[in-house]
């Protein structure tokens, strides 16, 4: 019996494919070795590798938790072993674009919480900032180390039909997924060592060290050896694995709210030998849950009076309070204007064309064309609160039309971008599936973009939703070293 080789009848169809030209058979230069390698593997061998990969992830507890069934079931984040490959020149373009964007976003936040120049000059409408759900007027005037608000950003990039990289959104609150980038790499190196060595891939393992350096650089007591901690909601959080993973890799404590206490506007952790002062908190808890005396009173995840210590400048939070304005999807539309305003440059990475519900002309357009647009709630994440017009039923469209009409400020619309596709292991061999890319950008005293990122893949045929909570998986992302 003849075993069908992998990739025999691969079809790019009408999409931009990461690995193949539009004729479906000519391989892009950066993918040659990888495609040859997978062509040489029998499906049986491949299946065996897949199974051993899955078992490894589960045993090590590389999992996330899904609460939709009410019980909280642990699942492994589905992993696809066909790596996404980015040539060096493409990466340096992304690297420059992301740095520029981070700089502008941090200047924007420092500005709106101090002089408000950009609002006074009417570049960004003031009401947009004021009505943003995550705007924290009460923290205006706070002076943060290096004027950095977003220390850790995970911006989502996609490629359109021409293969152009665009920014889909900026995650400036508590972006997650970086542990998968690191664990995926470990798994890939173990499973396909020969292929990996042949390609000369940039390392991602420097991330935890860079993260710790970033945390230390924004300590309010930089002269001493700062005490940094990871603040987690605890082991029932869906990203708990990531919290412990990062704490362990950085060699710092992972704490929960109940481990911390505030006295004299200083934050301390309870140890078996007494109280130890904490300088920098990498918090993986949303603003709302951080301090029951200041935000939600019913939260037990947070630390009472933490905000007093923060305002007194005795502790720094990573990311800062109030960064959510920058990842409001309506603010997103103004990032190219911010880049021009603060840096006098054109945006290196373009935005997706965005229609704001809050602008009258746009609103009219959205309501008339809802069937052809993607509608997003401005303050939702994780693929929730979203409508993909062409794939939605009449009722769903009507429902969203009513919602947009009721609260126009709460919604934006974008044309449907057919994300690029990438060869992916599926039931019947390797097929094209839509992907995006989340690189991680660190900013403290300096800005660092670790060469790599989390490539998320929509495993369901035809689907454009890559979120792990909605049936997405991930791939290792290989940035090739320059000149090789």
């Amino acid at each position: 019996m003849r075993v069908k080789p992998l990739l025999e009848n691969y079809e790019t169809e009408a999409f931009f494919d990461e690995a193949f030209e539009s004729d479906s058979s000519t391989c892009r230069p950066s993918y040659t070795e990888t495609v040859d390698f997978f062509r040489g593997l029998t499906p049986d061998r491949m299946q065996a590798s897949l199974r051993s990969l899955e078992r490894t992830f589960l045993k090590q507890g590389v999992t996330f938790t899904v609460y939709s069934d009410g019980q909280g079931t642990e699942r492994i984040f589905p992993f696809d072993p066909f790596p996404r490959i980015i040539p060096a020149d493409e990466w340096s373009h992304l690297d420059r674009g992301l740095r520029q964007r981070m700089k502008a976003l941090n200047m924007f936040l420092a500005d709106i919480y101090s002089d408000r120049r950009i609002l006074k000059e009417g570049i960004v409408p003031e009401y947009l900032v004021k009505t943003s759900k995550h705007y924290r007027a009460e923290f205006a005037g706070l002076k943060l180390p290096h004027d950095t608000y977003i220390h850790i950003c995970g911006s989502d990039l996609i490629r359109d039909a021409e293969g152009r990289y665009c920014v889909l959104e900026d995650n400036g609150r508590c972006p997650s997924g970086v542990s998968y980038m690191l664990e995926n790499r470990v798994a890939m190196k173990r499973t396909f060592p020969d292929l990996y060595r042949k390609l000369k891939v940039e390392r991602v393992s420097s991330y935890p060290g860079e993260l710790l350096k970033t945390l230390k650089s924004v300590s309010p007591r930089p002269q001493d050896e700062p005490v940094c901690v990871v603040l987690s909601p605890g082991q029932y959080n869906s990203a708990y694995f990531e919290h412990t993973f990062l704490a362990q890799q950085m060699g710092i404590e992972i704490v929960e709210g109940r481990d911390l206490t505030v006295e004299n506007e200083r934050v301390y952790m309870h140890t078996t030998r007494g109280l130890v002062q904490v300088d920098v908190i990498y918090r993986r808890i949303d603003d709302d849950f951080l301090d029951p005396h200041f935000f939600r009173a019913d939260s037990t995840l947070g630390v009472p009076d933490l905000m007093k210590a923060y305002r007194a400048g005795n502790v720094n939070l990573v990311n800062a309070i109030g960064t959510g304005v920058a990842d409001d999807k309506a603010t997103y539309a103004f990032v190219p204007d911010m880049i021009k305003f603060y840096l006098g440059e054109e945006a290196i990475l373009p935005n997706i064309e965005t229609f704001l519900g809050s602008r009258d002309d746009d609103l009219k357009y959205i309501l008339e064309n809802i069937e052809n647009l993607v509608i997003k709630a401005v303050d939702e994440a994780g693929g929730y609160g979203m409508l993909i017009g062409p794939m939605a039923s009449k009722e769903e469209c009507a429902d969203f039309r009513a919602r947009v009409k009721a609260t126009p400020r709460g919604y934006i619309a974008q044309p449907v971008i057919s994300l690029s596709r990438h060869p992916t292991f599926c039931e019947d061999g390797i097929e094209g599936r839509h992907v995006d890319l989340r690189p991680f950008i660190l900013t403290g005293e300096d800005t660092v973009v670790v060469p790599g990122g989390l490539t998320r893949v929509a495993l369901t045929k035809g689907s454009l939703v890559v979120n792990s909570s909605q049936g997405g998986g991930s791939k290792d992302t290989w940035v090739l070293r320059d000149g090789e």
């Binding site: 045993k59 909280g72 909601p233 412990t244 993973f245 481990d259 309870h270 995840l301």
Partner: protein
């Protein structure tokens, strides 16, 4: 070390030890029943003494006692729930323990869930896996944990739980009908992995006085109450840096007092009080030690600490549930 981390390490280890001891007891008792009756299906009342000995309750209403002890979800101390708790505690400190230790505890939990609920030898399998895994756990503990408070709190939990369980198992005769008492000592020795040691010391005949002396007062047998309390005493002093014989906190004082009692006691002291009352007094002391060390090392937070040992256990469970609930709200 964070108080919460110390607490999780301690409870992880206690639950592993608890699962292990219950498993040994179930297997040993089943083995004895096979000899005593000709039928394979032991009737429920024959298992009730085990419920009482382990303080899991004495209600007659529990139809299937073995299932209740081994795999029931309603029983917070069933073997499967102990493994679950050990794993939850391990998960909360997985950055503190070795990779090998986490994988062992996590694998045991995943493997237990894989067992077919209709498998007729399911209970035996669970018990064997739990016991085997506990041995591996202690090996991993010894060979991979740093010689710091990490190892100290793990061992503290293990020895304190083991002392408690050995003392309870020794008390099994109290809950048996008279005609079964003499053969019970086989079960007891077996449940404490002490059969060979007893034979080695005293020859072939199993004797209540010898057996209880071995399990309560031996200075060298690793599951004897005296040995375990001696280790607890050593570990508490190591953690606080106090010199042996002295004490800095209530936990150290109580442990020292109990150890002195065990060091200078023998079977004749049991005779005066009766075995049941004697081990009962030991258990009261062990509970105190656990509660005092929790107050000294774990419960240092601002909010009012729980008022008693029982309230402490319930409050830990409640904190877990509260976190789960808020987590869902946040999503």
């Amino acid at each position: 070390m964070l108080s919460r981390v110390a607490e999780n390490l301690y409870w992880m280890s206690r639950y592993i030890e608890r699962a292990d001891n219950l498993s040994r007891l179930v297997i040993a008792h089943q083995n004895e029943l096979l000899d005593a009756t000709s039928s394979l299906t032991a009737s429920s009342h024959e298992w009730h003494p085990l419920l009482e000995v382990t303080s899991m309750g004495d209600e007659d209403s529990k139809e299937d006692v073995v299932t209740y002890m081994v795999s029931s979800e309603e029983n917070p101390d069933s073997i499967v729930n102990c493994v679950f708790q050990a794993r939850e505690n391990a998960r909360a400190v997985r950055d503190q323990i070795s990779e090998e230790m986490w994988i062992e505890v996590n694998s045991l939990w995943l493997d237990l869930k894989q067992i077919d609920p209709n498998d007729r030898s399911r209970h035996e399998k669970i018990c064997e896996m739990a016991t085997r895994s506990a041995l591996l756990f202690r090996g991993i503990e010894w060979s991979s944990l740093p010689r710091t408070d990490v190892l100290a709190f793990v061992q503290l939990g293990g020895y304190l739980e083991r002392a408690d369980k050995t003392s309870r198992i020794v008390d099994l005769p109290h809950f048996l009908p008279d005609q079964e008492v003499s053969s019970a000592w086989n079960t007891i020795l077996r449940a404490c992995s002490a059969t060979a040691e007893h034979r080695h010391r005293y020859g072939g005949e199993v004797d209540a006085a010898n057996a209880s002396s071995l399990l309560l007062f031996s200075a060298t047998f690793p599951r004897s109450v005296r040995y375990c309390v001696h280790k607890v005493d050593e570990l508490l002093h190591q953690i606080s840096g106090t010199k042996s014989g002295d004490y800095l906190n209530e936990a150290e004082r109580s442990t020292g007092a109990l150890l002195a009692r065990l060091n200078f006691s023998g079977v004749e002291d049991i005779g005066r009080m009766g075995l049941h009352d004697y081990v009962d007094s030991i258990q009261v002391d062990l509970n105190n030690i656990g509660w005092e060390l929790a107050q000294r090392y774990f419960l240092l937070r601002k909010e009012a600490p729980p008022a008693s040992a029982e309230a402490y256990i319930t409050s830990r469970m409640r904190a877990q549930q509260q976190q789960q609930i808020e987590e869902q709200q946040q999503q």
